[in-house]
Symmetry: C2
């Protein structure tokens, strides 16, 4: 479904949502170790998110990445859109040139409801919402 890069991005952003703020920036090395993904690739990924202003960063000693209050209010589809684009969510499940109710593919009616509700879930919940569930210990962003 998602690319590895998007998955990494989501996990990293949730990690930042829980552990960072403007006073506590976190470097790629720490994040990569904690969520167990390749550090250089993560760096690239976070730089993309940063360029898109979905997260923020400061260079130099004590620098690193962090989420500010506004960033916390964004949603996971914003993250996915930045890394993978939304094509996956708009395109036909079996590869027809377009996906529409007017010209549905053979499995459009079976697939579309899920696609739509998933998008809704990913947009109506904020990053902060997901982070809170994780902080409560009800869910995880890494497993030992």
């Amino acid at each position: 479904m998602l690319s590895n890069q998007s998955k990494y991005a989501i996990r990293a952003v949730l990690y930042l949502a829980i552990h960072s703020d403007v006073k506590n920036k976190i470097g790629t090395k720490e994040i990569a170790e904690k969520i167990d993904i390749p550090a250089p690739f993560l760096a690239k990924t976070l730089q993309s998110l940063s360029k898109a202003k979905l997260i923020h960063s400061i260079k130099g000693p004590n620098g690193g990445f962090y989420l500010n209050k506004e960033d916390q209010k964004k949603n996971l589809l914003d993250i996915i859109e930045c890394i993978d684009g939304l094509r996956k969510f708009n395109e036909c499940f079996i590869g027809l040139p377009r996906c529409s109710d007017e010209n549905p593919c053979a499995i459009h009616h079976v697939v579309k409801p899920f696609k739509e509700s998933l998008i809704k879930e990913l947009t109506t919940n904020t990053i902060e919402d997901f982070a809170k569930e994780t902080q409560k210990g009800k869910s995880f962003i890494f497993l030992k």
Copy 2:
């Protein structure tokens, strides 16, 4: 979501479901042209399905691929499983080493219901079912 190869496989199988039977075999060239995908890649794909006995084939003049009665009763997850495997459907949405209710990732609860219902739709409907809807003109497997 699905690989191109799985998408091609599904469209090709639906094409066969509609146009072929043991008396009317169809070659890769015709299928590839009709559903507008690369013929050599499709050949590879159909060979995999054939080896898995999900579809059938006969070599030589007037040979080709076809679906027999049993094949028509199979479902699309069988096709996907043969080409992509089921890993995609079992694995965690954000890439944790496993997906489970006991150790849910941050978005497990949001994603899992869709995954399960989608699997149900793809397994309870047969290939024949989808083909019939297409034959009735209610859905398509190619668009001009």
